[in-house]
């Protein structure tokens, strides 16, 4: 092969290079170009490269070719060409210096690859990244990404809102204000077993609020398949837990009611048998005994209904200014008429200048009556003492902040266990009545008014309830 043939071969290679190739002189004029460049940009020898490649009037600011002429180092970078049709062609440009025999740079070779496709993919990628980021940020639960040292590398908006700018601090610091990892850490577990894990935790917000959260963790793997990070997603379930508590209370309530009704039904059976058999044999005493039982228990139905309604509605209190003397006289009159059927000696002692107080009268009446009825019943149940009495004393000085209501009986009293449970919604199996709903509600009503109930009692001796109520509304306590 002779020189001329070789030249032709190389010329052919040059021409067929599948990217835009130009050779430029120091003035950046076109000396030579390949076929692909000629097809897209034209082959005007001597034209300036900025005219040909970009359709510009003057040279470009950061010129890669210029740099290569100066330094002799190859250059590279992204550019935007404009072809003869006027279309924008994003390209990746690479330059290299061509030396003459003397070692001086006589021209620069510029090879540019069309990266339109790459650009399109990059745009799509950015868009996807953006959507993902938006999702990450806007998801209404807490998301953090931790590394294997449990340091938070990223956190979404909801997390930052409730737990602070937590990036680069440990998750146990941010979520729980601890100085060391939690004992059972679902994130650590995921690092170890490579699987998704779940747990329920209680966390504390920046503001000191406690939340119940359900935590899910999942591994994030790098290119080698190693777990480099773990994503932790926590859903706030505090409300659900509260609802659960309410349901549980409701369950207890239903249990209490059903127990109470069982007791009522049982007692009514007893009373009715005595009445019916008494009528059959014309035994007046038996008839009266039976009727007494029936009427007492019908009264209990009334109390039970108002207790259930109060509990079920959990009504907002309707406060009124009430004159105390009239109020307690009404209650005393009602209890007096019941006292005989319970065989109780009912005594009242009311102070002189009782004045007024601001209460929900229906609620407080209910609370006091429940306590009084409880004492009456305690007397009925006591079979040891020959006579029983219930004292209802109310006193206060007009200037004093509180009004005191005392209910003192010498009934059957309570043992320690009963005393401890008497105001709670405890489904008691002691006796037909049990502790039931009444005193629980009394306690609730009195607490809501900002008052207190105290109880002193001894088994077989009796009980002393003391209710203390403030005259004025205590702000913030309702």
């Amino acid at each position: 092969m002779d020189n001329s043939e070789q030249k032709d071969i190389y010329k052919n290679y040059f021409n067929e290079i599948p990217c835009y190739v130009t050779v430029l002189n120091r003035e950046k004029q076109l000396i030579d170009c390949n076929r692909v460049f000629k097809d897209h940009f034209g082959a005007k020898i001597g034209a300036y490269c900025w005219e040909l490649c970009k359709g510009r009037m003057c040279k470009c600011q950061d010129c890669l070719v210029e740099k290569t002429f100066q330094t002799g180092e190859p250059g590279h970078g992204e550019e935007l060409f404009v072809n003869i049709k006027g279309e924008n062609i994003p390209v990746y440009v690479k330059t290299s210096a061509i030396y003459d025999k003397a070692g001086k740079i006589e021209s620069v070779l510029v090879a540019s690859t069309d990266i339109s496709e790459v650009k399109k993919i990059q745009k799509k990628l950015n868009k996807t990244r953006q959507s993902l980021h938006q999702i990450f940020e806007e998801v209404p639960c807490y998301i953090t990404v931790q590394d294997s040292d449990l340091v938070i590398r990223s956190a979404n908006r909801k997390f930052r809102e409730d737990f602070g700018e937590a990036v680069n601090i440990h998750c146990y610091e941010a979520y729980k204000h601890r100085d060391e990892p939690c004992l059972v850490c679902p994130v650590m577990k995921t690092f170890e077993d490579g699987r998704s894990n779940q747990s329920e935790e209680i966390v504390t917000s920046m503001g000191g609020e406690q939340f119940n959260v359900l935590v899910h963790t999942a591994p994030l793997r790098d290119h080698d398949g190693k777990i480099s990070q773990v994503i932790e997603m926590s859903v706030n379930i505090t409300q659900i837990r509260q609802l659960q508590d309410q349901l549980a209370s409701l369950g207890l309530l239903v249990g209490s009611i059903s127990h109470g009704i069982k007791g009522l039904a049982s007692a009514l059976d007893c009373g009715m048998y005595l009445m019916n058999s008494g009528l059959e044999i014309n035994d007046r005493e038996r008839i009266e005994k039976g009727w007494n039982i029936v009427s007492r228990n019908v009264d209990r139905i009334r109390s039970m209904i108002s207790d259930i309604l109060y509990y079920a509605k959990d009504r907002d209190l309707q406060y009124e200014t009430v004159e105390i003397k009239t109020f307690i006289n009404d209650i005393a009159e009602m209890m007096s008429s019941k006292a005989e059927s319970f065989k109780v000696n009912f005594k009242t002692e009311f102070g002189d200048s009782l004045g007024e107080f601001k209460v929900d009268p229906t609620a407080i009446r209910s609370a006091l009556v429940n306590i009084l009825e409880n004492s009456f019943d305690a007397c009925r149940k006591d079979l040891d003492k020959p006579s029983h009495q219930v004292k209802f004393n109310v006193y206060s000085e007009n200037a004093s902040r509180n009004v005191i209501f005392d209910v003192i009986d010498n009934g059957i009293g309570m043992d320690r266990e009963t005393q401890e449970k008497v105001f709670s919604l405890f489904f008691s199996s002691k006796g037909i009545e049990g502790t039931g709903l009444g005193l629980f509600i009394s306690n609730k009503i009195i607490s809501k008014h900002g008052g207190t109930i105290e109880l002193k009692t001894k088994p077989k001796e009796g009980a002393h309830f003391r209710v203390t109520l403030p005259r004025e509304l205590i702000s913030g306590r309702q």
Partner: protein, 133 residues
Amino acid sequence: MSKDPKKILVVEDEPDMLDFLSVFLHDNGFNVIIATDGRQGFEKAKKERPDLITLDITMPEESGVRTLRNIQEDPDTAAIPVIVITGVSKDFKKFIHERKTVKPPAGYLEKPFEKEELLAMATKLIGYNDKVT
């Protein structure tokens, strides 16, 4: 069929129920003795040797169950059939199956119960008496 009326010991702390049980059983020909707490119940069981005992298990301080155990363990009273009356069925049933020291009673009634059921149970256990009323 014995001519002597059978004796039933009623152990019950609720006055209304106590009245009812004693009157009802007496109306149906039984002699009735009463006790108002577990301790008294066990003492009277030993002393009077009734033919049958009704025992309210829901008396305070678990005394009902303790009394049942005492009755079952004491040779003087172990043979006397006991009908247990309870207000809380689930707890008692579970309890009776779990405790190894207490045998199931001869009879078991849940409040509120039918009085005819009590009568049938008592009759089955100790025999029939002519009705007084």
